[in-house]
């Protein structure tokens, strides 16, 4: 349906354009890595798109294409959207970085916004959220709640964003519970419910009673629900349908304000290439409600941690910290700079296993 719907809407817009109207509408395009109904990452980006439509009403038109594979095919999808006359295109996954830059080179008048990447161009901005701030809160709850001291982590691809999340969660789990151990599975997918569920099941069978996920679907929640006494956290979206247990809290990505601001900038002609990286304080990362399955004292600690991060008094990466190989990274009281965080390619001391290349 997606493709056909997409083509149909494309044909429709061409028709509209030729019948001499819709000229002053700003057209905003979105490229999604999963289906809008994934209940996680893509779902939240789509909520942002809907917010843009609601905010601007008739002045804006949005188009999207979902389940676009990362890699060569993405370039075709982005090109097609630019050819359709989009003024602003959001490409919402890390793997679209090179395709976005390549298409941007061919369409200098179209503005591009690439999520979670680190390369910009005169007409390409990047934007991301400091998910690791939310991971710190999750790590704390996980460390305090685990009884087996084994925390399972379903990772997607070995990119800095994912590694940052693992490190942040580990540091704060370890602070809360020195005996904690992380078991990490690299799923090599953002969205494959069956595989995500299998990974969660494998971790649970090996003793994990807390599952953290950096994949997009709610499948690990369902797998945890099937096993008893396991807790999980909503990823990218609240995943409230699995509350109060197994889902005890969540990281919610809140893209709407950013999408509205950037669309406005295109309308005003004030759009400039920027690198945005906001966290809890700016409201781009939200912590979903901590459910009653979490003891009151743990909940209070988690909220205090969240507030401290929002206030800037507690940076999730504060020394003393060592890298996995034992070499020094941050001295006592020192905090990590954004450059190191953006390119993070190492585990902190205590995590077992190697990062795939």
């Amino acid at each position: 349906m997606k493709l056909t719907k997409f083509l149909a809407s494309a044909a429709l817009t061409v028709g509209l354009a030729t019948s001499a109207m819709a000229q002053d509408k700003t057209k905003v395009g979105f490229i999604y890595v999963g289906p809008v109904g994934d209940g996680g990452w893509t779902y939240e980006h789509n909520q942002g798109r809907l917010a843009v439509e609601e905010h601007f009403g008739d002045k804006v038109e949005t188009v999207f294409q979902e389940s676009v594979p990362e890699g060569a095919d993405a370039e075709r999808a982005i090109t097609q959207m630019a050819l359709q006359g989009a003024d602003l295109i959001f490409t919402t996954s890390f793997g679209y970085m090179e395709p976005t830059l390549s298409v941007a080179g061919k369409f200098p008048k179209v503005k591009f916004e690439h999520a979670t990447g680190y390369k910009t161009a005169p007409n390409v901005s990047t934007y991301s959220a400091r998910f690791y701030e939310g991971r710190a809160v999750q790590g704390h709850i996980a460390g305090r709640m685990t009884k087996s001291n084994i925390i399972g982590y379903i990772a997607s691809f070995p990119i800095p964003e994912v590694i940052r999340g693992i490190n942040s969660a580990y540091i704060h789990a370890k602070k809360a519970n020195p005996d904690v151990q992380f078991k990490i599975i690299w799923a090599y997918t953002w969205f494959d419910p069956a595989k995500e569920a299998d990974a969660a099941t494998a971790l649970i069978e090996q003793g994990a009673d807390v599952i953290l996920q950096h994949t997009d679907s709610t499948a690990p929640q369902a797998a945890a629900e099937k096993a008893e006494g396991v807790i999980t956290f909503g990823q990218a979206s609240d995943m409230a349908e699995y509350a109060p247990a197994p889902r005890v809290s969540s990281i919610i990505d809140n893209w709407a304000p950013y999408y509205i601001a950037r669309t406005q900038a295109v309308m005003d002609g004030s759009w400039q290439s920027v690198m945005t990286w906001d966290g809890i304080s700016a409201g781009m990362v939200k912590i979903g409600e901590i459910s009653d399955a979490v003891p009151a004292d743990v909940k209070a600690e988690a909220l205090a941690l969240k507030d401290a991060i929002a206030a800037g008094t507690n940076h999730p990466f504060t020394g003393p910290l060592k890298k996995q190989d034992g070499s020094d990274w941050l001295a006592a009281g020192e905090t990590a700079d954004d450059g190191t965080l953006a390119g993070m390619n190492f585990y902190v001391e205590g995590i077992e296993g190697d990062i795939p290349n």
Binding site: M1, K2, L3, G39, K183, I184, F191, K226, E241, D354
Partner: protein
Amino acid sequence: MDLSSINPVLLLASLMVAATPILIAALGELVVERSGVLNLGVEGMMITGAICGFAVAVETGSPFWGFVAAAAGGALLSLLFALLTQFALANQVASGLALTLFGLGLSSLLGQGYVGVKPPHTAKLDIPILGDIPFLGPVVFSHDLMVYFGLALVAAIWAMLKYTRIGLVLRAVGENHDAAHALGYKVVRVRVMAILFGGACAGLGGAYISLIRVPQWTEGMTAGAGWIALALVVFASWKAGRVMLGAYLFGGVTVLQLNLQAAGVSIPVEYLSMSPYLITILVLVIMSADRSRAPASLGRIFHATQ
């Protein structure tokens, strides 16, 4: 590394759960292709079966009726393919791809109200004495019925193709539809039946994912399982036994590699991750070194007057 953290009984159980959906879907496609029809719509029929089964299981509270509805849903969708290719004589490759796109869209429409809903639990078979045998009991005798259904289907299809008259007619139609037609066999009727059977099997495979393996409904949740099933039929050189071997290998290595990762085995994750594809293809290609080949009429359009 701590291999002792892997429990072989649980591992084997997850292996069967991971293998069953692609096994059932691939068996259906095997019958379709043996009748000379190439239906690339497996993914679409699987996902449609997944939501039909899920919705009906939730509404009736019975996984059994869920699976029945999944088979019906998959078959109904495949009927569309049958109409296009057998009566309108449309191109099979294009029709199959269209069926996948249509199925993905239709399923997300049907599934609107079912996101985040918990399906009824599917009971595992509980055989009193056999199930209590140490190790063997839990490994062999205590799965849900669909696992055994998949295995029984392998035997049934193998026997049907090899020993029965129906199987012979099906193969004749698939090998040379003009000759089969000249002999008086109803080529179109046989193929429509095969397509419906394939659709029902794909639907069952999809419902297995949404009702047992995950269990939940998420848009696009089959995530390529249908394409794996399609590839499996080719690599298994259109033989039921090899399809089973392939499905269990693929499912098994997938689950095993996840478990090895969790146990922290010092094999680079990249290799572990590609191992299900690599090992399955390797084994099946080596096995098909004999002279097995595709059904001769595969993908060709049949028209009685030509």
